[in-house]
Structures are given as C-alpha cells and as structure tokens.
Symmetry: C2
Subunit: 189 residues, 2 copies
C-alpha cells in the first residue's frame, strides 16, 4: 500500500513577521508551481486554502483559464497540472473533502524552516518509508508568509525535520520547499 498524498498551500492562519496570525494573499505563481510539482510527483490533490471568497474566486479564474480558456489551447500541460488544484476555505474543509474522497481522514504532515519546540521530528527517510507502507491518506501543509500558525502546527501528526538545518541561511520560497519535500518523500531515486 502507498498512501495517497494531498498538499495544501495555507494562506490562513499563517504568521506575520512578529508571529501574529494573518491571512496572506494568494499568488498566481504559487498556484502554478505547486500544481506542476505536485502533478510531477504523483500527488492526488492540491488545495489552495483561503478564507477570503474573493481570493478563492481568483483561483477559480486561473483554473478556468487553464481548463477551458485560451491557456488550455496554448499550453495543454498546464491544464493537466492544474486539474488537481482546487481552492477551499479552510484546512478543516480540506480535511473533510479529502476524507470524503479517500474514504478515511488524512494524517496532517508539516515541515518548517525552524523546528517547532516540543515536537518530535520525523526524518525524511522515515517519512518516505511511512508513506510507502501506509494506506492512510496524508495532507502535507505548507505555510505562506512566515509559516503556519502554531494552532495548525500543534495539530500535526508528523513534523518533518527542517530541509537544510546545517545551512547558515534557510529561507527557501514555499515553491522551492514544496518541490524538495515532494522529491524527498516521493521522488525517483
């Protein structure tokens, strides 16, 4: 058995520079990049989480352009990537949608540039083995702005080790962090 893996790009609740909860703005390039990476590594779904209806409408318009509009005729590969993407109002709504689609509730996985205090970290090798041997679906959360708010971090079933803790610099874009996460957990080797 291999777990079916979903990911969510979270725009609320995430942290501002001071750690306070905010709703961040959806970025066009994030919608595309994470969809392309998720599709390449065989993820089952990519959820763009925002509580702001106008922001979800923006995602709908992007998806419509690439599913039915000029984009679909010009760059059909993009249609295939974005077909696994959907906007949704909250992480809990994503969990409910995945539970309905997959038949059981997903485990919540997170990774962060700095390990949250008091949490047991899972190595990437162990995470990879866990996905390969488990039937339970998984939802990997990625935080925008300055990362997932602690209320989400506290709910994680699996906290993956930071990607590059030995570096003197660790500020990957969420696009780069997601690509590396998928590759480490699911990539061809």
């Amino acid at each position: 058995m291999t777990a079916r893996v979903h990911c969510a790009l979270v725009h609320h609740p995430v942290r501002d520079r001071a750690g306070h909860p905010i709703a961040s703005a959806i970025t066009n390039v994030d919608v595309h990049d994470l969809a392309r990476s998720a599709r390449t590594f065989g993820l089952a779904g990519y959820w763009v989480v925002s509580p702001i209806a106008a922001q979800r409408l923006l995602v709908e318009r992007i998806l419509d352009h690439w599913a039915h509009g000029a984009g679909a005729r010009r760059v059909p590969e993009r249609t295939r990537a974005l077909s696994i993407c959907a906007p949704i109002e909250s992480v809990d709504a994503a969990i409910a949608a995945i539970t309905e689609r997959e038949g059981s509730a997903p485990a919540l996985w997170v990774t962060a540039a700095k390990a949250p205090p008091g949490k047991t970290l899972t190595s990437w090798a162990d995470g990879r083995a866990l996905l390969a041997s488990s039937a339970r679906p998984v939802l990997i959360l990625f935080g925008t702005a300055h990362g997932l708010h602690s209320t989400l971090m506290d709910r994680a079933d699996v906290v993956l080790a930071p990607i590059q803790p030995g570096s003197d610099y660790n500020h990957l874009s969420v696009r780069a962090a997601a690509a590396i996460t998928f590759d480490r957990l699911l990539g061809d080797r």
Copy 2:
C-alpha cells in the same frame, strides 16, 4: 576537496515551443527564488544570463533595491540571498567571470526534463560524489522557456539524468527544478 558550485539561469539561447532559439524575458520571482535556494544550499554564485542590456538593468534594479534600498531594511534575509546574484550577458561571460574568481574554468553541468539524444547521463548519486571529490568549479545551467538550446546542451561536461523520468507528467518550473537539483547534489541527508 569540494567543488565550488555556481549556477546560471539562462535566457539565451533557449528554445521556444518549436525548438527555435530565442531570448526569454527575465522574471522577478526567478531572480529571488533561485537566489534563496542557491544561498540555502551553499552555492558560490548565481548568474542571470541575458544578452539584452535593458533586461540586465532590471536585475540590477532588483539587486539594488534589496542591497541598499527599502528591501534591505525590511527583509534583511533577502539581501543575503541576492548578494550572490549578478546579471551577465552570456554563458561565456559567466564562464570567464567564474574562471577569474575561482582560478580555473568551471565544468558545465546541465539537467533537462527530457534527456538529450546521444549524451551519456550521469546519475544524481554519481553527480553528488563527483562534486564532493573534485576541486574543479562547476557551473550548473538552467534553461528558461522550453529549455537550453542544443548549442549549449552540446557543450555540457555532465548531463544529469532527468529529475522524475518515471512520472507521467514532467513539467516542473525552473524554480522547482533548481531547488531539487541543489538538494539532490548538495542537500543535508
């Protein structure tokens, strides 16, 4: 000895959809994302290659904003990432600059979504071992648009295997491909 590694994001000569050589436009998010990934994985330099002076000026303005302008005061981490970035007019000019800085000419490494015909592919494990054991500097080329033109591909000393050849979909953004490349070759394990 470990090789000092540079990367270049190439905007000319790259391929359009039909394979013809073009000069592509520089994208702000590419300048930032590759700088952040390159800095996180310890690269020595990140060159943004365009023969168009107005495009290189755009990069200079971005760099100036983050080195000396409001950006530097607001997000100092970004300053550190972009300090390894420079625009340059051609791959050959990048090779010359690296040769002067490192004391010897760099080997040219490339990767591509589709392996170029007639080239011997290097596995990622072998590439990683080669970097760790060699003192010769390396310049990894990434192509924008539809990838590096064959005139550059033909000059490569090392052609890395495609990132995810077993996938039924392989259209990573250059931002994602670069992040995965650095992680596979230089990442903490």
